[in-house]
């Protein structure tokens, strides 16, 4: 308790902080990324180019960024939360105007190696902003209407912008993260029920605003055999590839379905299918186990944090990470519609890799600074 004075905790050196890093998390991240590199190597039929080498470069940059973020004081991130949220929101609004068109949707800002997807950044900064906001509230305040209105604006404004792009999947994930944050912050159970019901009620209304291809995706998900050669093709092929892998898989680089191009987008959204085909049920569940372990370590950090901000931040980011992998895997297994969510740390692509590593950087920052006490105003405590 002695160190946790009103102005405390700035006394750790950066060297000390590095030693306090949760190295288990870093190790698992490297393991999972390594799996990703080998899968990209396999996807290119045994070639580092075009995917694996670029992915390694991105990972290297991302890991350095993650480590830098993790040793920066958590109070700095608390102070920056609203500002970052504001910047991201402006960026998100900008892609509406400037964004280059990729995959028929305007989502990307091209920064050569990384194509910046503001909606992905928004997932993180929204968690930060909400954590910051709830940090300043008393228990029970989160459910009060005057506070609730502000939180809802913080959540729904970016959701609306992302929906306009249109990116159904990301908008849904953003909304879900917001809802989880509300839940963790302690809104009433009946309020949760009202939100759930009103969301469900909004589905038929929202349906009319969907693009034709989005409707098609959802219909195809409900019945993939409806259009086996086009919309349902990906899912059917993905199930065939995965199922034919069997218990032990066909072996590294031996996945016939992926290598004969029956499997679409094998280097991005459907990379888990390829892994499951080549390494079977054993390989697939091992990867899921690694993810679960990573998530568990993050959850421990969250529970051990003294400040509400760090707790909410790390838990929110874990939820974000979890949603990535769950939606991707459920999608390739035919449990969810194809919404174009990458498998974190494994799928080829810059933004997801970057945002996920930034997220872990923030979680680890929370871990290093778990003992830091921050008062309601937070800002006054910055060193």
């Amino acid at each position: 308790m002695s160190r946790m004075t009103e102005f405390g905790s700035s006394d750790k050196t950066y060297m000390e902080k590095i030693f306090q890093l949760n190295w288990q998390i870093v190790l698992i991240i490297f393991l999972i990324a390594g799996v990703g590199f080998s899968m990209l190597y396999s996807a290119a039929s045994g070639d580092l180019s075009p995917w694996a080498s670029r992915q390694m470069l991105r990972f290297g940059i991302g890991v350095i960024l993650m480590l830098i973020i993790s040793i920066i004081d958590i109070r700095f991130w608390l102070k920056m939360s609203y500002a970052l949220y504001g910047i991201s929101f402006i960026l998100l609004a900008t892609v509406d105007v400037l964004g280059s068109v990729a995959m028929g949707a305007q989502r990307w800002l091209d920064l050569t190696l990384f194509q910046l997807q503001p909606s992905e950044i928004m997932k993180i900064v929204m968690v930060m902003a909400l954590a910051r906001y709830f940090h300043g509230l008393e228990v029970g305040d989160a459910g009060r209407v005057r506070y609730l209105v502000i939180t809802l604006i913080l959540i729904l404004a970016p959701v609306a912008l992302v929906l306009r792009q249109p990116d159904l999947g990301t908008a849904g994930v953003l909304g879900l993260i917001g809802a989880v944050m509300l839940w963790l912050a302690g809104i009433r159970v009946w309020q949760c029920l009202i939100f759930s019901f009103s969301s469900i009620a909004a589905i038929p209304i929202g349906w009319q605003f969907l693009h034709e291809y989005q409707k098609q995706r959802i219909l195809t998900f409900l019945n993939p055999d409806l259009d086996p050669l086009w919309s349902g093709y990906n899912i059917i092929q993905s199930k065939i590839a995965m199922g034919s892998g069997g218990l032990f898989g066909k072996g590294f680089m031996e996945g016939t379905q992926s290598h004969l191009n029956f499997l679409p987008e094998k280097q991005t959204d459907f990379i888990f299918t390829m892994l499951a085909e080549e390494f079977g049920f054993i390989g697939g569940t091992t990867l899921i186990g690694l993810y679960a372990l990573l998530i568990s370590y993050c959850i421990f950090i969250s529970f051990s944090c003294r400040s509400q901000f760090a707790r909410l931040l790390s838990m929110g980011l874990v939820v974000n990470f979890f949603l990535y992998l769950f939606i991707n895997m459920a999608m390739v297994m035919g449990l969810l519609p194809v919404v174009g969510v990458p498998l974190p740390l494994i799928s080829h692509g810059g933004t997801a890799m970057l945002t996920v590593l930034i997220g872990f950087g923030l979680v680890m920052s929370s871990g290093i600074h778990k003992g830091v006490y921050i008062n309601r105003r937070g800002a006054s405590l910055i060193m």
Partner: protein, 628 residues
């Protein structure tokens, strides 16, 4: 302060725990799903994956070839060279096409179609530029290959009939598969596969087709072939040898040039068909590249019916060539003998009707030999009155007239031999006596095909053996071609003396100076021919016309002129060949048909295809002793 913090922590940890529980449940669901896909359903998906990867492609077997009795090719397969283009590795299709256009003709339309196809198809899928290229064109393109990126030449197979129109009707032709052919044979689903549509090509289609080969290709989802995993070569279709003698066939076609009609030459002992000519004909090679709808319409509506095989599907009143049947019926019935004579005054009155002889002033006293040699109508009126139509009809049927002859090519017509029961059933009226007289001279209801007439003569000349004509030396059995092993033709049970009498009379037709075909006799010693002329009316001659003089054939429109017929056999001693000639609307049998028959018969005797064929004929002939 601490209290607040603890409250927050309590709420957070409780709710976070529920959240973690939710995550664990969802991850378990993922693992459960994976278990279902990869362990429970693994076999099913493995099967589907295998099907996904391997693409079975059929290989078209090459069609069996058809040869004549001496091995002259009648139907063979030729290379069909096609130029294809694909856009892969080709930055400028238009430029390539322009370049190609300097080597082979390419119309603006072709270019438009090609560019459209290229833009629609995947990059590595070749698009057809042109087919049926000459070898010279292929060579030119090959030489210029470096300047023609993406251009490839492929060769397919094309049915080719070297004899052109000469053997069209017996051979038939091949064409596209139509729904009625769909019998489940996977071959039929191959693009561009052809099936036999008439003649031998149709009869022997299954054996000619051969067996499809297969190629197991590993492909990707885009359809690009990665490699060939396995290949089973198909089985080439079986070859067929016909009994036709191409050289004689061509002579016959030449004799029919400009005429509409048919010539059939048979081996009297076996029924092997040496000649089966039908004119006008058509070059089946024109079908290979496809003909336009207009051309097809023109062909099928042509009044000279080039597509009809008149030898087996042309039904004509046989005229006087029918008289041998009547004579035999009368002989068998014991109504006449060699010397029985009737007086011909030029006509015979029966009830209200007056039945004329072709010779206005009559033949006088006429016996069997004179009746046949000079073709006296009244003599046969008298015979038929006594024999009656039913016994004539039975005799005609025994000689193969008025029925389908169980030929080995499709499309034959039965002709018609009337009797009392037939008329009652078909027309609903009773037989009239006058109709018997008309039938006796091969008019009225009687219809026969040239093939039937040749068969009739063959059965007369071979001593009353019921041979059946055929055109292929082989038969098809369980989709395989095997050699014919006919039993010797059964004896028709005719009195040899009766036959001899009729044959002698037929000899007189040609070799007696009063005979109707005396001018068509063969002067070469040992090559004598027996026969019978026939002229069948296609119009009714009125009494008024008879009084003012019958209009000459030359003055009538083509369609109303008489058919000229001739049937014959040679040599006179130990006959070997039977011939029938029918010239539609040709005029008189003696004037038009007999000389043609003589010419073809001389050629036939000179070549003697049945005698010298390298085992080409059916073995049974060996048992028939050859006389000098």
């Amino acid at each position: 302060m601490l209290n607040r913090g603890e409250d927050q922590y309590r709420v957070f940890s409780r709710r976070a725990a529920i959240l973690v529980g939710g995550k664990a449940a969802l991850l378990s669901a993922l693992i459960g799903r994976m278990y279902y896909l990869q362990v429970i359903e693994a076999d099913r998906y493995q099967l589907m994956a295998e099907e996904n990867r391997i693409n079975l492609r059929l290989l078209t077997p090459s069609r069996g070839q058809i040869f004549d009795r001496f091995g002259v090719p009648l139907a063979i397969n030729q290379q069909n060279y096609q130029v294809l283009i694909k856009s892969e590795n080709n930055p400028d299709i238009e430029k390539t096409l322009t370049h190609l256009g300097r080597l082979i003709p390419l119309s603006a339309n072709d270019r438009k179609r090609i560019l459209k196809d290229v833009s629609r198809k995947r990059k590595f899928v070749p698009v057809l530029v042109r087919e049926y290229l000459e070898w010279e064109d292929v060579a030119r393109i090959e030489v210029n290959a470096p300047d023609l990126p993406g251009i490839t030449i492929e060769s397919g197979s094309l049915r080719f009939y070297p004899q052109g129109e000469a053997a069209f009707h017996a051979l038939g032709y091949v064409g596209a598969v139509s729904p009625k052919h769909k019998t489940g044979d996977r071959l039929l689903e191959l693009p561009g596969f052809k099936v036999g549509l008439s003649g031998v090509e149709q009869t022997f289609d299954l054996a000619l087709r051969g067996k499809a080969g297969s190629s197991q290709l590993e492909v990707n989802a885009l359809g690009r072939v990665i490699r060939e995993l396995d290949r089973k070569e198909g089985k080439t279709g079986q070859n067929i040898v016909l009994t036709i003698d191409t050289s004689l066939q061509k002579q016959a076609m030449k004799a029919l040039e400009g005429k509409t009609g048919s010539i059939v030459v048979l081996d009297v002992h076996t029924g092997a068909t040496m000649v089966q000519a039908s004119s006008p004909s058509f070059d089946p090679n024109n079908f290979t590249n496809g003909i336009s709808e207009n051309e097809w319409k023109e062909l099928s509506e042509d009044e000279r019916a080039p597509l009809r095989n008149k030898a087996i599907a042309g039904e004509y009143a046989p005229g006087s060539t029918f008289k041998m049947i009547v004579a035999l019926a009368a002989l068998e019935a014991g109504i006449i003998n060699k010397n029985t004579s009737f007086f011909c005054s030029g006509s015979l009155t029966l009830g209200d009707g007056k039945f004329h002889c072709w010779k206005k002033h009559g033949h006088g006293l006429t016996n069997l030999k004179k009746g046949i040699a000079q073709s006296c109508d009244v003599y046969f009126y008298e015979l038929s009155r006594r024999v009656g139509i039913d016994r004539i009809a039975i005799m005609a049927k025994r000689f193969g007239l008025g029925q389908n002859l169980d030929l080995d090519i499709p499309g034959s017509r039965p002709g018609l031999i009337p009797n009392k029961a037939w008329k009652k059933a078909a027309i609903g009226k009773s037989w009239v006596r006058g109709e018997t007289l008309l039938a006796a001279i091969g008019q009225g209801f009687v219809l026969t095909t040239p093939m039937q007439l040749a068969t009739m003569v063959a059965r007369l000349a071979n001593g009353g053996k019921a041979i059946t004509p055929f055109v292929a030396r082989d038969i098809i059995s369980r989709n395989k071609i095997i050699s014919r092993t006919d039993l010797p033709a059964s004896d028709m049970g005719l009195n040899p003396n009766h036959l001899r009498m009729v044959l002698k009379s037929m000899e007189a037709v040609i070799n007696n100076q009063w005979g109707t075909a005396y001018r068509a006799r063969i002067m070469v010693p040992g090559m004598g021919m027996g026969g019978k002329t026939g002229t069948s009316q296609v119009r009714r001659i009125t009494q008024a016309e008879r009084d003012s003089g019958i209009i000459k054939n030359e003055q009538l429109p083509w369609k109303r002129r008489d058919h000229a017929l001739f049937v014959g056999f040679a040599p006179i001693v130990s006959p070997r060949y039977a011939i029938s000639v029918v010239i539609e609307h040709g005029g008189g049998g003696s004037k038009i048909a007999a000389p043609i028959a003589r010419d073809i018969m001389v050629d036939t005797l000179n070549r003697d295809p049945a005698g010298q064929a390298p085992g080409a004929d059916v073995a049974e002939w060996q048992t028939v002793p050859k006389e000098a």
